[in-house]
Point group: C2
Chain length 474, copies 2
């Protein structure tokens, strides 16, 4: 049943945010799209406040009227956390107009930005001051800081710089009560009561709407070295990482496992991209290091010895920024290549680092048992124990054909990966969050003590359940 | 009115934990002592469970009977978080028997330890595997991991390695309901619902009792360089730190500001300790760096240039482990020297790094205005913006004499420091927590939105208020 948001309520919201701050659902198709084309969202109204105070007033009004709010960042989330799947009597609350860089304080090593800032714009603003904000991911051109924090985003530099929460010293947020929490001071130590910042970060907009954040920025390092190398398998990729850590120290910013199959998908779909190594390999790593002058020589020496010792087959070091970007393009075009190829499942698992090899072997075996023709592209942030599996129909079969001919296969694949995850003491969501896609999985796999506590906190902070109802908790 | 814990309840608790797990209040003087001799705690009974399951059963029994529990780690907390100040109908819950190292997993870069492990023993266990657990503080010989996490302890290596929460991948805890939360898997990424680990860490035992933790351990680095240098003042100490960061990178593990007055107190009270620099200085820094072979040469070069450029007066590098320990003894004996000298106030403030100079200047001015004879030892973790002021009576006047002759001076000193803290956008507790000492300060300075949320969460998770009542929230 379509109810939408009443014209009367919409009028009162417009009185707060102005005509520029409101968009009827009929003109807001893009807020209802899923980046992986699996869902279509619904909405009664899209609201785009310009200030924290206006947003707080909207939340108070919606609380009084019992209108649910779905916070929306860049729309790049892949677990439907930003989509209302079955209700159109909701407000989509987009932070896109709150996109100011409020302050860059080099002496304090921070910048204060509004939640609607696109990640790439934050990178650029920091770079103007010789600084970096070391959170990176393929969606950097669209995703926003608010979404990054609401989902505790991960990405390709977690190994060295941590997840989004580790790069945030303070937040400003509107709570379900409509109160504003202002904790933006750039304090490195603050033991004054429960850490509400860490509670709100990763709560996927169910406990509050983050409106601004104080982000840690770090000096740009003089040398950046990017290497693409052929490795025998995941275990050897991890051994390579451990060796780099021992010999090159904390300079390793990231190490991405890539499958030969996956690299082939990328070069197949994007004609301008190519695999820079001559001999094909079943597995590759893409790794980047940053540090002081002389690092490049040390890295060259290290990889030379690895090749000589036969531990890796071949490697290429980027010798220019263009080459570096070309290597990263191979990695960053992977999600889109997976989509174009017709993935029936895209998993996001973390396991203890020492269990990565077991996890990859056992999931591959379980999938082969489900259906021998399934193709799997396994890749991801191996140094964090965070592997993504993208699972495809057999060669030559389209996704619609395969799904129609193999009822229940999507769910069976998902559950097969989940079961190995749990057996490996892993997490069913490493970096994407729960959203609406994994609500049942969380309810199934989380301990009762955790679920009970999550529900108790949600009920205490949002008794009317107006913030992102249906996400995370269900 | 003395009520104590009834013999009947004590008997039922003993039936759970056994005779070794219980100690009557009359034999438990040490659990009632304050490390700064300001308070005396009360208790009806001390309970020392041996397992998480027994502890959970005790919590369930106490919940049913309405008996409050005060979690107790090493007893080194300085804000009376572990002391019951006005009720003796409570159980002091000591984790001292739960002191096993459960696992050391070098491949995963973690160790799993029980909450009652003394920090120094954790260091030693890690070192046996060539690893370090980089959380360090003066109380390391007594404080426990459980207390470290419950208070999100800081200390001397936060600059590089973070606070206690940043070194913990997982916890096991008993919740107020008596449920056990087991989240010990060493995952670097885990976005499966609200981060209860970060909520419990720093909640000072009011939301749960941490019983075990998965701690991050890192390889011991080949070279450690320790330097004691005379600097003109706090601003120059910070500039020195920034220069070190630029030239020596992330090798800087810590930098401690020390006042000449404070160093004099330490060498005055401890005859075996001496100031290694010939010329007296109003300010010093003690800094330590760790890294790869060659670091010592680089550090020597750096300090040589600083002296040559006149930015620092003099410096000494430790040339042996004994010399290194002698330098650290100057810092680590500071709290005890302050106590012996008769401090009337010991503050624990953090401010934005760029505001440290202002904070020190304005607090000194405010204190001089309160009473011109007050002596102040300012020292601490300057790279974190975390400065401690210890305030003493005028030269030649004892603490009891001064306090008697100057009514209200202790509170006036505390409030003068608090007011400057707040003006500098700082935190009234950087690393010690709120405990019972700062409950009124938190209620005064925290925003209503924060206080309301803290109270709502506490009521939701501990509706009978049995875990550490009176601490943090009041």
């Amino acid at each position: 049943m379509s109810k939408g948001v009443s014209a009367e309520a919409a009028g009162r919201i417009e009185a707060i945010v102005g005509a520029k701050g409101i968009r009827p659902a009929a003109e807001a198709q893009r807020y209802m799209e899923d980046p992986r084309d699996r869902f279509t969202g619904k909405a009664g109204l899209v609201v785009m406040p310009d200030t924290t105070e206006d947003l707080a007033e909207v939340v108070r009004l919606c609380g009084a009227e019992g209108i649910a709010l779905i916070p929306y960042g860049g729309g790049t989330g892949v677990v439907a956390g930003q989509l209302s799947l079955d209700r159109d009597d909701v407000v989509i609350l987009s932070l896109e107009r709150m996109n100011r860089i409020r302050d860059i304080r080099a002496d304090d090593g921070v910048m204060v930005v509004e939640a609607g800032c696109v990640l790439e714009n934050v990178h650029a603003a920091a770079a103007e001051h010789g600084l970096q904000f070391p959170l990176g991911m393929a969606s950097k051109g669209s995703c926003t800081i608010g979404g990054n924090l609401a989902t505790n985003a991960g990405g390709i530099q977690v190994l060295r710089h941590g997840n989004a929460r580790d790069l945030c010293l303070g937040i400003e947020a509107v709570l379900p009560s409509g109160e504003i929490l202002r904790e933006l001071s750039p304090l490195r130590k603050n033991n004054t009561g429960f850490d509400l910042r860490h509670l709100l970060i990763g709560s996927e907009g169910t406990l509050g709407i983050i409106t601004a954040a104080t982000l840690i920025v770090k000096p740009i390092e003089p040398e950046v070295v990017t290497v693409f190398a052929a490795v025998p398998g995941p275990a050897e990729a991890l051994a390579l990482y451990q060796g780099m850590r021992r010999q090159l120290g904390e300079a390793v910013s990231g190490i991405e496992l890539m499958s030969g199959f996956g690299v082939g998908l990328v070069t197949g779909h994007f004609a301008n991209l190519r695999n820079p190594l001559a001999e094909p390999s079943e597995w590759y790593v893409l790794t980047e290091l940053a540090g002081h002058a002389g690092l490049q020589d040390n890295v060259e020496g290290f990889f030379g010895e690895e090749i000589e010792a036969g531990r890796i087959a071949d490697a290429v070091l980027a010798s220019s920024e263009a080459q570096r970007q070309a290597l990263w393009d191979l990695r960053e075009h992977t999600p889109e290549a997976n989509r174009l190829t017709g993935a029936i499942c895209s998993s996001d698992t973390s396991v203890p680092i020492a269990s990565v090899e077991r996890f990859v072997a056992e999931t591959h075996a379980a999938l082969a048992k489900l259906h021998p023709g399934l193709r799997v592209n396994s890749y991801g942030h191996i140094g964090d124990g965070n592997i993504h599996h993208n699972v495809f129909p057999p060669e030559g079969v389209t996704k619609p054909e395969f799904v129609a001919a193999t009822p229940g296969i999507i769910e069976a694949v998902r559950m097969a990966i989940n079961e190995v995850t749990v057996a490996c003491d892993g997490a069913i969501s490493a970096e994407h969050g729960i959203g609406r896609l994994k609500v049942n999985d969380l309810a199934r796999y989380a301990q009762p003590a955790k679920l009970n506590t999550i529900r108790a906190i949600k009920a205490a902070m949002d008794p009317k359940n107006i913030l992102n109802p249906g996400a995370l908790i269900g």
